[in-house]
């Protein structure tokens, strides 16, 4: 935790003054929202000054019929979701709160943190990620200059698409002060179909067939037999208007008839299953947690290699996302990273003790030419490296 006092700017002028002062003093700045993801990455340089961005809070504008919400980044995710739900809308990328993953209470995550970390949940499979829903923003760069990018309309190609870069930037480019986010109607109903007892390859085949069908599967996940209290279960979530959901479920039941019995999950069981993919409660006892993003077609190369190890996993995004939990000794980081790379993907370290976080960067190393380009892009916004706090090990 930061040892220097936390600063909490309340407006853009304060933020600019703070950044200018840091530039002058050569101090690094650790931008943070609710702190739900503070456990990700290497411990922050204790000399860095923490900047609490929750002073930038509140809804600026929301017109449901325009499908656009303008909000300040310090606003709580729960507040945003409640407002949208009141109007029958949602953040379609299904963001979630990292708090529970790090053993903290839920409810601290801010919308700015969700966007800056690019957090997308199970519906990523069908609706895109955070990056597909950030339309525009206001920010102050490491130059101490306020600027805007993108716009408050859903269709825009004017200038470079900097909002894409903001998602997943982890506060390393600029301090976000306002966000324009695309909202979408929430499905009137949702049903989860389940198949029990499938092996991982069978489950991946089922999820691929379902996702490639006209059923419009919103989300597809698989809990393996050995790690789930209720036994292995493969889940397909269907959302939309009631007649549509009924028709899509019927279609899936026909399509998957040769794969095993297809049952409709009880609402409570379904809610628990999708909730587990947000909180990763079933991997709770695993001190080390990895987020492995791979082509679904090759995910079983990873799970097969994990079988002899004590690692446990759950699969989301039809197999495109594998959460892997283990002990520090059970699975060396280099082994898992090599497995992910061999399967055409990459692994992020999401949870670990301080020693491991110090030793192993959160993100896998990029090829040198790409790393150099990324560094030039970071320097374009932050020439002095003000926002490099050692957390990502690449400054």
């Amino acid at each position: 935790m930061a040892k220097t006092p936390t600063l909490r700017p309340g407006n853009t002028a304060d933020l600019i003054a703070l950044i200018d002062a840091a530039r002058g003093a050569g101090t690094r700045l650790d931008l943070r929202g609710g702190g739900s993801k503070a456990g990700c990455g290497a411990p922050v340089d204790p000399a860095a000054t923490a900047v609490d961005m929750r002073g930038f809070a509140g809804i600026v504008d929301y017109d449901p019929a325009e499908l656009v919400l303008t909000v300040r980044p310090g606003t709580l995710l729960t507040e945003v979701e409640a407002l949208l739900a009141e109007h029958g809308q949602m953040l379609a990328f299904e963001p979630f709160d990292h708090g529970p993953i790090h053993g903290r209470a839920a409810g601290d995550a801010t919308i700015g943190g969700v966007i800056a970390a690019g957090v997308a949940g199970s519906r990523r499979l069908s609706r895109g990620g955070a990056r597909d829903h950030l339309l525009g923003f206001r920010a102050v760069s490491g130059r101490g200059e306020a600027f805007v990018a993108g716009a408050r309309v859903t269709k825009n190609v004017t200038g470079y698409d900097l909002p894409k870069l903001a998602c997943g930037s982890w506060g390393r480019l600029f301090a976000l002060t306002e966000l324009d986010i695309k909202t979408l109607p929430r499905g009137e109903t949702a049903l989860t179909l389940a198949l029990d007892g499938l092996t991982a390859p069978q489950a991946v085949a089922v999820m691929s067939r379902a996702a490639g069908s006209q059923a419009g599967v919103a989300a597809a996940a698989h809990h393996p037999e050995t790690h789930h209290p209720a036994g292995g279960v493969t889940a397909l979530r269907i959302e939309g208007f009631a007649p549509s959901v009924a028709a899509r479920c019927a279609l899936l039941e026909r399509l998957l008839a040769d794969c095993g019995a297809v049952r409709v999950m009880e609402p409570a069981e379904a809610a628990a299953l999708w909730d587990d993919l947000r909180t990763l409660g079933s991997l709770r006892n695993m001190p080390v947690l990895w987020r492995v993003v791979v082509p679904a077609a090759h995910v079983c190369r990873v799970t097969a290699a994990l079988a002899p190890t004590p690692a446990r996993w759950v699969m989301d995004w039809a197999g495109g996302l594998l959460w892997v939990g283990c002990t520090a000794e059970g699975l060396p980081p280099a082994t898992l990273r090599a497995l992910a790379a061999a399967a055409g993907g990459h692994a992020d370290l999401v949870r670990a003790d301080e020693a491991l976080r110090r030793a192993c960067p959160m993100r896998a190393a990029l090829p040198p030419a790409l790393a150099a380009l990324e560094a030039r892009v970071r320097r374009a916004f932050d020439p002095a490296g003000l926002f490099e706090t050692g957390r990502f090990g690449d400054d």
């Binding site: 449901p64 019929a65 200059e145 470079y160 997943g168 109607p185 009137e188 490639g212 055409g344 790409l370």
Partner: protein, 495 residues
């Protein structure tokens, strides 16, 4: 007329030597005969013409890399080109630049039905992608009207959309990865077959970068299963306000149609005269709403949309009974540009986006502008997402009319920004809207964008003269502290 960057006469003087050097890289792929160069002198923004210094048509990534590295070392500018259908002059050649044509990159490399992905070379046309996967029941969702001709590489560069992007997204939402060659010849992969890239989302910036950051030599896209059914509705309204309110009510009811297009009376009449689609000629505004999905879903949504539009006083409402009907409903909309072209010797297609709630105000103001300039106007409109395509009618043979049409267009785009919208929804900035960028962005905003350009192309050799009204030299931009729209170098050459 737009000014282009000052021509480097020394490069022009070295033309033969440059041709020779490029022939050493691509022996059968260099065009330097003046008559043959004329084929490339413009793109879809035909008011602007400039034959290139030379054209080179590489076939492999290695050749692209060698060409770019050579041009970089020699300080020669490069303009990438796909199929040349850009409506904003993105592929407009420069007199002292090599035009790098990507037409020979015309192969689809891999189709992966398990993960619903196609890996393709960038010169493949948009429609060819869908053709390659439709037998298996899939398609590539972004469908620009130019899809028979435009290339995937051009789509990536422009972040192109189509009538179905309301529900299925623009190019950026459907591209997973690219192979990119930087101006110094470095070959990189951004993204790939996974749903998230490793590292920062540089791919997101490449899409829509209009050929200024690198040359795309391979593209990985997502494909979707074709919907089980698709049905269209043709709905006429006695007033534009009512049609706009109906669109808002459809979305507020939680319905995102596969497509939702609006045409004003002028466009409806032009289209009807051209294709006889059976459009209601008394309507002030015509909506085409397409719904797709399982049959039961279409039936449900058609009933809901019927009820909503009746509640908003529609005067006609027809529902397609079969595929022939559906295609006929669309035929007029799809032919709207050429249909307007028949009414007027020339037309100029604009592309601003507005918040939908501003539609009645914007249409009224545009009618006033039309009277002011004495030029006719027809409007087609991606109603779901607020993307306007006003078509300005003019006659280039009447001296001054092109300039009038451009001034009218610029006024429309200023109006879009004034009501909270943007200069371009899908056609790109190119040269066309370059000088309007300060209407939407401050000098500070633009400097932050241009520093991205500098991170990729510090010598500003790739497609200069496009997108940025003033292209600062990168070393200066790095030092300059821009304040309140005033740069510390106000006297930098403005082209």
């Amino acid at each position: 007329m737009l000014a282009m960057p000052p021509v480097d006469q020394a490069v022009i003087a070295r033309r033969d030597a440059i041709a020779q050097a490029l022939r050493a890289i691509v022996p059968d792929g260099v065009i330097d005969r003046p008559d043959a160069l004329r084929v490339y002198e413009s793109d879809g923004l035909t008011a602007y013409r400039q034959p290139p210094l030379l054209v080179v048509l590489p076939e492999t990534t290695a050749q692209v890399s060698q060409i770019l590295r050579w041009c970089h070392d020699q300080g020669v500018k490069v303009v990438p080109r796909g199929s040349g259908t850009s409506l904003s002059g993105g592929a407009l050649p420069l007199a002292d630049a090599v035009l790098l044509g990507m037409a020979r990159f015309n192969r689809i490399l891999d189709i992966d039905y398990h993960d619903r992905i196609v890996v393709t070379q960038p010169g493949v046309t948009n429609l060819a992608l869908t053709r390659a996967v439709e037998d298996r029941g899939f398609y590539y969702a972004p469908d620009p009207s130019s899809q028979i001709a435009c290339s995937i590489g051009g789509n990536v560069a422009e972040n192109s959309g189509g009538v179905h992007c309301l529900k299925y997204g623009l190019t950026t939402n459907n591209v997973l990865g690219v192979e990119l060659v930087l101006i110094d010849g470095t070959v990189l992969r951004l993204g790939g077959r996974t749903l998230e890239p490793a590292g920062m989302d540089l791919l997101g910036v490449i899409v829509g970068s209009e050929g200024l950051l690198g040359v795309v030599t391979e593209v990985t896209v997502a494909i979707l299963p074709q919907p089980e059914t698709a049905r269209a509705m043709l709905i006429g309204f006695p007033a534009v306000e009512a049609a706009g309110a109906a669109v808002a009510a459809i979305i507020a009811a939680g319905i995102i149609p596969a497509g939702m297009e609006m045409m004003d009376k002028a466009a409806t009449h032009a289209a009807e005269a051209f294709v006889n689609a059976g459009y209601p000629l008394d309507a002030e505004a015509l909506l085409i709403v397409e719904l797709d999905g399982p049959q039961a879903e279409c039936d449900h949504l058609i009933a809901a949309v019927t009820q909503i539009t009746q509640g908003h006083g529609c005067t006609t409402c027809r529902i397609s009974e079969n595929e022939a009907d559906r295609l006929m409903f669309w035929a007029g909309r799809k032919a709207a540009f050429p249909a307007v072209g028949r009414l007027s010797p020339d037309y100029y297609c604009m592309d601003g986006t507005i918040p939908r709630r501003a539609l009645p105000h914007v249409l009224t103001r545009m009618a006033q502008l039309s009277a002011h300039y004495g030029l006719g106007l027809a409007n087609v409109f991606h109603a779901g997402d607020g993307n306007l395509h006003p078509l300005i009618m003019y006659d280039a043979n009447v001296p001054g009319q092109l300039e009038q049409a451009e001034a009218f267009g610029a006024d429309i785009l200023r109006l879009c920004v004034e009501v909270g919208g943007v200069l371009t929804g899908e056609h790109g900035v190119g040269v066309e809207k370059r000088d309007l960028m300060p209407v939407m962005f401050s000098a500070i905003d633009l400097a932050h964008q241009q520093r991205i350009k500098c991170a990729f192309d510090p010598d500003l050799l790739l497609n200069p003269g496009k997108v940025f009204p003033v292209l600062h030299r990168c070393a200066e931009l790095g030092r300059v502290h821009v304040h309140q729209g005033q740069t510390a170098f106000p006297d930098l050459p403005r082209f």
